[in-house]
């Protein structure tokens, strides 16, 4: 994924309404009307949000001329899960080094204990 695309994804998901739309689309395809129903905003405003999600490649629209249902591009979310996993592994590497430091401290503290300093 190019950097421009990535920035668009971040910008698209920075908005709470758009995140909510994405969460609801995760359950299945929906028309703009379905998506707009729970919000206290115009259909037009919701369409605008969906366009931002489309531009970011998060959502595609079906060909059905009447409904043009919105569809969530699931692989984008696999990507986000991947990011979190990579971040987690980086933290884990750091903490393994900390484990080693703590194991060494253990040995040092045993010496302190012998001196009665604990």
């Amino acid at each position: 994924m190019g950097e421009d695309r990535l920035s668009r994804v971040f910008a698209a998901l920075a908005d709470p309404t758009r995140r909510d739309i994405v969460a609801r689309l995760a359950a299945g395809d929906k028309s703009v009307g379905d998506l707009a129903a729970p919000y206290d905003v115009s259909l037009q405003a919701v369409s605008k949000h969906i366009r931002v999600l489309e531009d970011a490649g998060l959502v595609t629209r079906g060909r059905d001329a009447q409904r043009r249902p919105c569809h969530l591009e699931a692989e984008v979310f696999d990507l986000m899960t991947g990011w979190i996993e990579r971040y987690r592994r980086q933290a884990e590497e750091r903490f393994r080094r900390l484990d080693a430091v703590l194991a060494e401290l253990d040995a040092e503290t045993d010496e302190d204990d012998n001196r009665g300093a604990a």
């Binding site: 971040f10 995140r19 980086q90 933290a91 884990e92 903490f95 401290l105």
Partner: protein, 159 residues
């Protein structure tokens, strides 16, 4: 040594990032490893980088500044303040990467005594926006910074 898993919690509606990890050592020792600069430099910072601590005053109201080096090259610089250093229990500090000087993360580390000589550390970071939080999670200073420099090099060459 037992394997302790690192858990990451990313709230979809808040600009927070939570990292939870258990350690096979009592709170006083884990806390020391988090606040004594001679110990901190041995584990913090990305893999294969050397952490050069320039300033470290690990007391409430104190502060720190350090640089990450690899292969004789400075990769990144960081600084922050120690808002509260409550021995063996709680550490609250700010964190800024100089590459994004307007950005600041408020990090709270809670050291929970699990008994049995073990400690759970829950680290909660709060940043300015969900967008920035996602960028932190997705980039990882490690790779992102280097790749950024490489791109800049290419740009400068092309120009």
């Amino acid at each position: 040594m037992t394997t302790n898993d690192t858990r990451i919690e990313v709230d979809p509606n808040l600009p927070t990032l939570r990292i939870i990890r258990d350690f096979d050592a009592p709170p006083d020792r884990v806390f020391r490893a988090w606040t004594d600069p001679d110990l901190v430099r041995r584990w913090l910072g990305p893999r294969e980088t050397e952490m050069r601590i320039e300033q470290w005053d690990g007391r409430t109201g104190g502060g720190y500044r350090y640089a990450a080096w690899r292969d004789g090259e400075e990769l990144a610089r960081f600084f922050g303040s120690f808002h509260e250093v409550r021995p063996n229990e709680r550490l609250v500090q700010t964190f800024t990467w100089e590459g994004a000087p307007d950005g600041v993360s408020l990090d709270t580390m809670v050291f929970e005594d699990l008994g049995d000589g073990r400690t759970r550390v829950t680290s909660t970071s709060v940043v300015e926006s969900i967008e920035i939080r996602d960028m932190i999670v997705s980039s990882g200073m490690d790779k992102g910074v280097i790749e950024g420099y490489e791109k800049l090099d290419e740009l400068l060459k092309a120009g």
